[in-house]
């Protein structure tokens, strides 16, 4: 089923906000100045963060993949109390469904954008970079592009739902 991208972005706007916030927070943690943040807009891109170019490659990569970490964790945590009633017991309350919506929306925007991939690409391809930077950087760029292609097949939504269901099931599998 084809649904225009802007509609999906509009419906899942909390994920976009958290995505940009994650970039901003990673900049703050790595002491990189931020010049502009657009948390959400009805344009392409739906949000962005303008920050100072960093010479430290690790910081650059971390700022780019920050949303993957933050959105995944936050999506899982927000969905945690609602996941079991909704997905396992069919006893979810309207509030539970709100949390699932938020959790899935946030988690499905975990994948860094192709814009983020381009930033990493630019940083990684420099000739003077040590081998390990390329070893880490290129697969990340590849994975981001794969994720981007996958979003045509609802990979981002599948990931969002998997994160929302996954954490409680993981905890139960560990402790039961």
């Amino acid at each position: 089923m084809f649904i225009p991208g802007f509609l999906i972005t509009l419906v899942t706007f909390p994920g976009v906000i958290v995505h940009e916030l994650a970039h901003q927070l990673f900049c703050r943690w790595f002491k990189v100045p931020v010049f502009k943040v657009v948390y959400f807009q009805m344009e392409n891109p739906a949000g962005y963060v303008v920050h100072e170019a960093t010479t430290n490659k690790l910081k650059g990569i971390m700022i780019s993949i920050g949303p993957f970490i933050v959105n995944t964790l936050l999506g899982a945590i927000i969905a945690l109390p609602a996941s079991l009633p909704v997905f396992r017991f069919d006893t979810g309350t309207p509030l539970d469904y709100v949390l699932i919506y938020l959790g899935v929306s946030i988690a499905m925007h975990a994948f860094p954008s192709t814009g983020d991939a381009n930033v990493i690409w630019e940083q990684v391809k420099e000739k003077e970079n040590p081998f390990w930077v390329k070893l880490v950087g290129y697969p990340i760029v590849g994975l981001i592009y794969l994720g981007s292609i996958g979003s045509f097949f609802w990979l981002d939504l599948i990931y969002g739902v998997a994160v929302a269901i996954g954490l409680p099931n993981l905890l139960i599998a560990l402790f039961a």
Binding site: P33, E52, V119
Partner: protein
């Protein structure tokens, strides 16, 4: 999306305020104060309010997390126990879930399966009436249920036997000259055959009962009532290895069949292995103190282990319940010398 760029410097000095002293730390010419300010680029109030609203909903929903987490744990533990053929544990776990979520189809379906393997046919019947017509999404679970329900048909009297029972008030009072032709006409009615085998056992006609049970097991090798009576008959016939064989056959189906664990303990007791019998009977009794056969077996093993105080406690426990008293009658007869249990 993140865009890394150095802000163009419109003037010499700090790109933001023009301060002449530029701080180290990045390609953008910024004074220390501006660098700090941009590092701590403010998060707008509406974002904080948005986050706060999510936090409020989250905290409110967290209050239900321990309950749902605990139920999910019980469900999972039940499934693990079911997979390991520990059906008593499984049934207990599923009953906890059902007590809180009586309409949960998954727990109901698993409870039915566990109850069946615990020979708790009344629970199977009770749950099955509520589950009829409801959709079970898990195909494997559905197949297991179908399989179990087919088997469960052999655990209830069919209409023909019911009609015969009504004619003679109960199944136990149907005369042999009616029942034997009935069995000949219905050679695959394992329930009726097991019922007759049980009558023969009660008459101490062990050989005839054993033969009838063998014919049942030829048709249905896993038919639990037949296996259970076989284990006892073989003990009565002093065929101990055979008794153990049928005990182990039943235990392979359900590791927590306390009736058969106690039966095995009685066979050990008959072999004068009193210590082993006590150990096994205690395991069975601890597993299910509501199983009166286990309670009666405990009295018997305490008796032969010369633990008379403990034996009398067991007898006392049974005294308050008429069903328990009927199970305790055999140990009481053995203790009083009216019945001979072993040489």
């Amino acid at each position: 999306m993140d865009i890394d760029q150095s802000e163009p410097s419109p003037k010499s000095g700090c790109a933001n305020c023009g301060h002449l002293v530029i701080a180290q730390g990045g390609p953008t010419p910024l004074c220390q104060e501006c660098r700090e300010k941009f590092i701590k680029f403010p998060i707008p109030l509406w974002i904080k309010i948005f986050g706060g609203a999510i936090a409020v909903i989250f905290i409110f929903s967290m209050s239900n997390l321990p309950k749902s987490f605990s139920l999910a744990m019980h469900l999972e533990k039940g499934k693990k126990a079911e997979k390991a053929n520990n059906y008593l544990t499984a049934q207990r776990e599923f009953e906890i879930v059902i007590a809180k979520l009586p309409n949960n189809i998954e727990a109901q379906a698993h409870l039915m399966l566990a109850a069946f393997y615990n020979q708790d046919i009344s629970t199977v019947a009770k749950i099955s009436s509520g589950i009829v017509g409801k959709e079970i999404e898990d195909n494997d679970l559905f197949a297991d249920l179908q399989n179990m329900l087919t088997k469960a048909d052999d655990y209830v009297a069919n209409d023909s036997l019911m009609a015969l029972s009504e004619k003679y008030k109960s199944r136990d009072t149907i005369p042999d000259n009616e029942l034997i032709p009935f069995l000949a006409r219905n050679p695959e009615d394992v329930y009726a055959k097991a019922n007759y085998a049980s009558l023969l056992f009660n008459r101490s006609d062990y050989i005839a009962s054993d033969s009838m049970l063998s014919s049942i097991l030829l048709l249905k090798p896993d038919y639990m009532p037949a296996i259970v009576i076989k284990a006892t008959i073989k003990r009565e016939l002093n065929q101990m290895d055979s008794s153990f064989y049928y005990c182990d056959k039943a235990l392979a189906i359900n590791h927590e069949n306390t009736y058969i664990l106690s039966s095995k303990a009685r066979t050990l007791l008959k072999q004068h292995k009193d210590g082993e019998a006590l150990k096994l009977a205690s395991t069975s009794y601890k597993m299910n103190e509501k199983d009166y056969y286990s309670l009666a077996t405990m009295a018997l093993v305490y008796h032969y282990n010369n633990k008379l105080k403990e034996r009398d406690e067991m007898i006392k426990k049974a005294a308050s319940d008429s069903v328990a008293t009927s199970y305790m009658q055999y140990p009481l007869d053995v203790i009083s010398g009216q019945q001979k249990f072993r040489n």
